[in-house]
């Protein structure tokens, strides 16, 4: 199970990468393999305010539906149009198939409770 070293993670199995004041968010390889084949991703609207730890979308797979949580506070500035036509990208390349981008508040810092790659890997191992 791939856990890239350059990303931050949440206990809800999102990954976050930060460039400048923008955070890019997707779900992890572990999450995608647990969900199975993803058939539909419901994303927050561009312009919407999201709150760290709050659901802001849904990921539908063949067998289940899961809430998508925002790992950060901020404003949604972009969603991934490729997922509209090909939601299975989430399974084939979970770290390429980003879901939405959030502009962090001015002077914003990432929430302190994001997990390091090592911490996230431990979490997935203890979950079996």
């Amino acid at each position: 199970m791939s856990v890239p070293a350059e990303l931050h993670y949440t206990p809800e199995h999102e990954w976050v990468s930060v460039a400048g004041d923008a955070a890019t968010i997707g779900i992890t390889d572990y999450a995608a393999s647990q969900l199975g084949d993803v058939v539909f991703v419901s994303l927050p609207a561009v312009g919407a305010a999201v709150t760290a730890g709050e659901p802001c979308g849904e990921v539908e797979s063949v067998k289940s539906v899961s809430d998508l949580y925002s790992p950060v506070d901020g404003e949604v500035i972009e969603t991934n149009p490729d997922l509209e036509d090909d939601p299975a990208l989430v399974n084939s390349e979970p770290y390429g198939a980003w879901m939405f981008k959030v502009r962090l508040p001015a002077g914003g810092v990432l929430p302190a409770d994001l997990l390091s790659p090592a911490e996230y890997e431990d979490l997935t191992k203890s979950a079996g």
């Binding site: 199975g36 084949d37 058939v39 539909f40 419901s42 849904e58 539908e60 063949v62 067998k63 289940s64 539906v65 299975a88 399974n91």
Partner: protein, 345 residues
């Protein structure tokens, strides 16, 4: 791997969508060793099953199979079953894993007045199913039976990959296919041999997730979803399975007869949802105006049709438009004749 009725079962091997398509277009291999195998033997085995089950088993010819159910005295379904008649005095009853204990107990009780013996043989059998249009072609060279002439819902004793097996043309996918009941010690060899031989024809292993979407497209009920102790076969559109014209009493006869006379209290329908959101087990079904009228029993994105489909119990059969409450949103759904998918013969 997921826990399932006391077994560790593969939900998927790789992609359940690819596994589903493989079964529709080529072939899939399923490990169904969790299913219960119950032997009913003896001079009155047929009569005992006539009393215990809702179908007329004593007239089934040796080598043929029947889809049937075991009901409680009140007509509620305790399990749906496939019964193979393997000889004049030998029947093999296949029960759902979660219900095997109940079925063994009920059959034992119900057979008490007959010259028949009920044996739980679940631990003596592994079950490997090969399903899909290529299944017969893959299995034939590995089987000493002439399966090309085997009829649907028939079975015979033979060998597969050199190992003794009961081979039947049955399944739960809506495709042609076979079920191979072999000794657990032989299962790995049979599995590996089939998988290797079938790979060039597109055979891949398929898990529980694909099995569920395949049977849903084929309009086949799943115990715990469409079937349960609170429904009779009539609600599930399976009234034809109840044989009132067989001689003698059977458990549930009186209750089922009155239910047949008064008509079903709810009806099982198919729904095609006009959304990419998926209706799932337990979601309310709404009439125009938002009044609750029933509940989704099974739902999934249909890999073959490309849209979400569902089965649901509603108060009355009505054509046209209904809604499914998908997590707070009333999503329009079209009543669709079952099955959603029927293979071309």
């Amino acid at each position: 791997m997921v826990p399932f009725a006391g077994w560790r079962m593969p939900l998927r091997y790789a992609s359940e969508t690819a596994e589903h398509h493989a079964v529709r277009r080529m072939a899939g291999l399923f490990d169904l060793s969790h299913m219960g195998e119950i032997l009913v033997t003896g001079p009155e085995a047929g009569a005992a099953l006539d009393y215990a089950l809702i179908s007329h088993l004593s007239v089934v010819a040796p080598g043929r199979a029947k889809y049937t159910m075991i009901c409680a005295a009140d007509g509620g379904v305790l399990d749906d079953l496939v019964v193979y008649r393997r000889g004049d005095e030998e029947f093999l009853v296949i029960a759902n894993a979660a219900n095997t204990g109940v079925v063994v107990r009920e059959l034992t009780d119900r057979a008490a007045g007959f010259d028949a013996v009920v044996t739980d043989a679940t631990d003596d059998y592994a079950l490997i199913a090969i399903q899909g249009p290529e299944a017969a072609g893959i299995l034939a060279p590995l089987c000493d039976l002439d399966i090309s002439v085997m009829k649907y819902y028939a079975g015979a004793s033979g060998s597969v990959a050199g190992r003794a097996a009961w081979v039947a043309r049955t399944g739960y996918t809506g495709e042609d296919g076979f079920e191979v009941y072999c000794r657990p010690d032989d299962a790995e060899h049979v599995w590996t041999t089939l998988l290797t031989a079938g790979a060039p024809a597109g055979l891949i292993p398929a898990g529980l997730a694909a099995r569920d979407t395949l049977r849903l497209e084929a309009g086949m009920p799943l115990y715990g979803n469409e079937l349960g102790p609170d429904v009779t076969p009539f609600e599930a559109n399976l009234g034809r399975v109840v044989k009132f014209d067989k001689p003698g009493d059977f458990v549930g006869r009186a209750a089922l007869a009155s239910r047949a006379a008064e008509g079903p209290r709810q009806v099982l329908i198919g729904l095609t949802v006009r959304s990419r959101r998926v209706p799932r087990h337990g979601y309310p079904v709404l009439l125009d105006g938002g009044v609750a009228d029933g509940v989704v029993t099974s739902g999934a994105p249909s890999p073959t049709l490309g849209v979400p489909i569902a089965m649901a119990y509603v108060s009355t059969a009505s054509a046209g438009e209904l809604y499914v409450d998908i997590r707070g949103e009333a999503v329009p759904a079209t009543v669709t004749e079952l099955p959603f998918y029927r293979r071309r013969k």
